[in-house]
């Protein structure tokens, strides 16, 4: 589903060149649940951004779902994001002027994919994430966990095959965070490809595969140490 070949990303900060990604090679299969782990500044968010076409690599080649991301035009990248990837953010980034239902509907409208899954309405997706009772509420009327569920529902509603989550539990308490992770895991089970970026090593225990970054390089790529843990075994 996702292929990165020798991808590098360098920033010029004054006279200094900062290497965020350094010749990264990566292959991700459809339906995988991957946790990208690493300390601050290791390049994990940059990796997520270049996969999601929010950022362009300095060199290398990226292909997602058979679509070549590198070298595509600006408008092609917008179209790519509409049809291929959906983002989930640490601070949710819900639209405060829209209700929970409308935020999810936004995902459908943005993807402009009315015929893809005609039976899945925004309300259905909200039901799926356990927020059927919160449909008419505005973001400020929801708890943090509920807001993140709405954000996940919005990403799911697009029908895009790849979900990119940047520290999705960063603002949440343990119980809520665990519920969110379980929800994401269910999506992987349903066939979505999930990449979760976190600096929390405990979270990586529940992944199918852990990619650990340090100074822009992949220093570990494989199943979590000690095997995949159940959500109930996690502590942070």
């Amino acid at each position: 589903m996702i292929d990165l070949e020798s991808v590098a990303k360098r920033y010029e900060v004054g006279a200094i060149t900062v290497t965020a990604l350094d010749r990264v090679d990566l292959h991700v299969s459809e339906g995988e649940f991957i946790v990208v782990l690493g300390p601050s500044g290791s390049g994990k968010t940059t990796l997520l951004n270049v996969i999601g076409a929010l950022d362009t690599p300095t060199e290398g080649r990226i292909t997602v779902g058979g679509q070549r991301v590198t070298g595509a035009s600006g408008s092609a990248l917008f179209a790519f994001r509409r049809s291929m990837v959906s983002f989930i953010f640490q601070s949710f980034n819900l639209f405060p002027g829209l209700t929970a239902l409308e935020n999810v509907q936004f995902g459908i409208d943005a993807a402009n994919r009315a015929s893809a899954e005609p039976s899945r309405s925004a309300a259905d997706v909200l039901e799926d994430v356990g927020l059927g009772e919160r449909i008419p509420h505005f973001p400020h009327e929801l708890s943090g966990g509920e807001q993140q569920r709405v954000a996940i529902a919005r990403a799911l509603a697009t029908g895009n095959p790849v979900l990119l989550a940047d520290e999705p539990t960063g603002e949440l308490d343990f119980t809520t965070g665990a519920q969110i992770l379980e929800l994401l895991h269910q999506q992987a089970d349903a066939g979505k490809t999930i990449l979760v970026v976190t600096h929390n090593r405990e979270i990586s225990r529940m992944a199918d595969r852990v990619i650990e970054l340090s100074s822009g390089r992949i220093v570990h790529d494989g199943p979590p140490a000690g095997g995949r843990a159940a959500i109930s075994d996690l502590r942070w």
């Binding site: 929010l54 950022d55 509409r82 953010f89 829209l98 936004f106 505005f138």
Partner: protein, 817 residues
């Protein structure tokens, strides 16, 4: 925190938003600048008026004989000298004013216009001592010119035709004269015809000469028909007027005499009283602009303080006192206000220069005093600064008034309420969430939206006032024009110097002229109209016409033109001012012939037969059959004529120019167009003035859009992350602005119409009581204002497109708060 750090920090805050700061400073500058410049204009006009009337020694009192009355020179002076307060009369001068025509060559053009000749006393070496002339070109007249065919041309007329200082001309009857200079006189700083046409200098010539010369030309040597005087300031004008009226009534029982003061002179009144009226009008406009600027400044600083919320919270958590925390945003606000004031001075100075040149062109006074009004600029700008500081202080006070934890909190716990957004959930809006978002964004922050809307509405209101006033003028003039030209639109008006029998040789000559096809004799006399004997009333021009005319009769919008009844037909404005309707009675004070060259004044109660639609209340009609009430029945001094088909007006003018006694030949079409031409010139100036509020609206809208773009960066970045194209994001921003633009324009139109009604109904009658404006705001103007207001505001977000495209999406998405 040291003052230096505070200042540096606040300057960094400014730099971070320099475009918005610059915009808001310009908005403040437009508000304060227009206020200061409009008030400077008032100060200049007052100072220039005083100086100009002093240098030309405008009379304090004037004794005016009724039309057609003359007295031998010296008689009026003797009567004035006989009153008890005579020692306080500093100077008296007698004059002779007669109607005439002037014909001269101006370049390749032959100018042939009606006018009047004012005979003055040039016997003293320095000219007349009361109501002098101010020479703008050429030389003045002196004692040696008494009885000589030498004249001075009125400055506005001479300038309009680019005439040299000296040249040759012909007066009515073909009398050759030499003009030796151009002159301004206080009664003619702008030219006003007896018909009430203003700024009529291209079609009406004022000619100054010696009283002896005018006497010879009028064939009334040694006579005068008015006297002007200056009084000692210690004298009560009212008591001197009373003394004069008693003395004149006793000495001249059979002559109608009116004593007036300078403030009764229509030009003096317009020049001096217009200043107060204009100031009220411009103050309303400038105040609206300034209020718009204050709202915009308040909005911007509120939002700037909002962005510093966490920093304020951190400072509070560190125990920094509230007043110290407030210093930084206050400093930012003060710097914005100060920048605005600097702009205000620049804008004000530029506007003042423009206004000065307009004033100079339209009202060429002998003395123009236009020093920079430091006092006005200081007062306006200090007030502006204080108002702005209060506007800035309020959001800051609110920001430091919360609990530190509320200020510091980030993420979902800091999520703010949805404002009025919940109310919008039931609103069916097409376009799915992309269609909903702009409405929700407006509703989400009602206070901010209201401030923006009020700021833009204030600017729109100013545009509405300017457009509405001119719509009202134009529609009123157009209605007057249609009424005048509704039949026999080519008819000519031939004025005679004196009433003559309708079977006299002069009338026969006109009737038999080759270029004339048909004539209808009539009469025109000055009179005054009041509701009852005690009412002071107002002056009118009474026209005796044939109510059964084949040419033209006034439209009766109320009542009927009844030839058989002795009654009067008054203008709608006159009826309104007098509080009468058709069928009611009014008092007409009119001249009655007592002798060959003397008329007395008499009051006659008359029923109002009908009301006509002309906009000037001075236009009054009676039927010819009832002219005997003036004791001049069977005479005429105004003939309505039709030219032979295919004859040019100039040919008629040329043919009748040499007929002695004919003082004016004009087409009614020319009369109807005169004021319209003038207004067209004013409109072009007002179009420039409209640019200020329009610019203001665009600036406010741009700033709002720019701030909204900043505040919604994360929302826009989220949309971009979901693949929503920039053009869709911009379209949503434009729709959001459009919503505010529509609401602001509606509010602005309502506010503007209310202001316009106030100006037309309350302010205008004080300066132009003769004018009955029909309040109009045409659909075209409404569409123009709506399109300008809405489009300018809706298009503002497009100016931020570059900013949107340049935003770094990943960085924006990662920003916590």
């Amino acid at each position: 925190m040291t003052p230096r750090l505070l200042l540096t920090w606040s300057l960094r805050d400014l730099r971070a938003r320099w475009i918005q700061v610059l915009t808001i400073a310009l908005v403040i500058g437009l508000g304060a600048g227009s206020f200061a410049s409009f008030n400077s204009m008032t100060a200049w006009r007052l100072a220039s008026n005083d100086a100009s009337y002093e240098v030309t020694r405008m009379y304090d009192l004037r004794v005016d004989l009724s039309d057609g009355s003359y007295l031998e020179r010296g008689r009026l002076t003797d009567i004035i000298r006989s009153i008890p307060s005579a020692q306080g009369v500093l100077a008296i001068e007698e004059r002779l004013t007669i109607p005439t025509q002037l014909r001269l060559e101006a370049g390749n053009e032959t100018v042939l216009v009606p006018g009047k000749m004012v005979g003055m006393d040039f016997s003293a070496p320095d000219g007349p001592s009361v109501t002098r002339v101010h020479i703008t070109q050429g030389s003045t007249l002196g004692p040696e010119d008494a009885g000589e065919p030498r004249i001075l041309l009125e400055h506005n007329f001479a300038t309009a035709y680019e005439l040299p200082a000296e040249g040759q001309a012909l007066l009515a009857g073909g009398r050759p004269v030499t003009y030796v200079g151009h002159a301004l006189a206080p009664e003619h700083f702008f030219v006003l015809t007896e018909e009430g046409a203003i700024f009529a200098h291209t079609t009406y010539a004022i000619i100054f000469s010696t009283v002896e010369t005018v006497g010879m030309i009028a064939e009334r040597p040694g006579t005068v028909n008015d006297a002007v005087m200056r009084l000692d300031d210690s004298l009560s004008r009212e008591s001197v007027i009373a003394e004069l009226e008693r003395a004149l009534a006793a000495a001249l029982p059979r002559v109608g005499v009116v004593v007036t003061q300078d403030s009764d002179d229509p030009v003096f009144r317009a020049v001096t009283e217009d200043v107060a009226g204009d100031q009220q009008t411009t103050n309303v406009i400038a105040f609206a602009i300034f209020i718009g600027a204050v709202f915009a400044a308040f909005n911007l600083t509120s939002r700037m303080v909002e962005t510093q919320r966490r920093e304020i919270g951190v400072a509070m958590a560190l125990g920094v006192p509230g007043w110290q925390i407030a210093l930084r945003p206050m400093l930012v606000g003060a710097q914005i206000a100060l920048s605005g004031i600097v702009f205000g001075v620049v804008v004000g100075w530029l506007l003042a220069q423009a206004l000065k040149s307009v004033l100079n062109e339209f009202l060429p006074l002998p003395v123009w005093e236009s020093p920079f009004q430091y006092g006005i600029f200081i007062i306006v700008n200090v007030v502006a600064l204080l108002v702005l500081l209060v506007a800035i202080g309020y959001p800051i006070r609110r920001a430091v008034g919360v609990q530190p934890i509320d200020a510091i909190r980030t993420g979902h716990l800091a999520a703010r309420g949805g404002g009025l957004a919940p109310l919008m959930t039931r609103l069916p809006i097409p376009g799915a969430t992309f269609g909903q978002l702009p409405f929700r964004n407006v509703a989400r922050a009602p206070r901010r939206a209201a401030l923006t809307i009020l700021g833009i509405a204030a600017a729109v209101a100013v545009i509405v006032v300017l457009v509405g006033i001119f719509d009202s003028y134009l529609s009123t003039l157009q209605a007057g024009r249609e009424e005048t030209l509704k039949s026999a639109e080519d008819r000519l008006i031939i004025d005679l110097a004196l009433p003559v029998p309708t079977n006299s040789s002069i009338v026969t000559t006109i009737r038999d002229a080759e270029s004339i096809a048909a004539v209808e004799p009539g009469l025109r006399v000055g009179a005054s109209l009041s509701a009852d004997d005690a009412d002071e009333g107002f002056e009118v021009l009474l026209r005796f016409i044939d109510f059964d005319s084949a040419f033209w009769t006034p439209t009766a919008v109320e009542g009927q033109l009844d030839q058989s009844r002795r009654g009067i037909v008054v203008a709608r404005k006159a009826a309104s001012d007098l509080g009468v309707a058709a069928g009611d009675e009014v008092v007409l004070t009119h001249p009655v012939r007592e002798g060959l060259a003397s008329f007395s004044l008499r009051e006659t109660r008359l029923p109002v037969l009908a009301i006509h639609p002309h906009y000037l209340r001075t236009v009054v009609y009676m039927d010819n059959r009832h002219a005997d009430m003036l004791n001049i029945g069977g005479t005429t001094n105004r003939i309505t004529a039709l030219a032979v088909p295919d004859t040019e007006t100039i040919d008629v003018k040329e043919e009748l120019f040499t007929v002695s006694g004919v003082v004016s030949v004009t087409t009614v079409e020319a009369e109807a167009s005169l004021t319209e031409d003038l207004l067209n010139q004013f409109i072009s100036i007002m179009r420039v003035m409209q640019a200020i509020p329009l610019l203001l609206a665009v600036l406010i809208a741009y700033n709002t859009a720019s701030i909204a773009m900043d505040e919604r960066r994360r929302e826009h970045a989220t949309m971009a992350a979901y693949g929503v194209p920039y053009r869709t994001i911009l379209r949503m921003a434009a729709v959001e602005s459009l919503i505010m633009g529509v609401i602001a324009t509606i509010v602005g139109v309502i506010l503007g119409l209310a202001l316009m009604l106030y100006l037309i109904n309350v302010i205008l009658p004080r300066t132009s009581p003769e004018l009955g404006l029909t309040i109009t705001f045409t659909p075209t103007s409404f569409v123009i204002v709506f399109v300008l207001g809405v489009l300018a505001v809706a298009a503002a977000p497009l100016l931020t497109a570059r900013k949107l495209r340049r935003d770094d999406i990943p960085s924006t998405l990662r920003v916590m708060e």
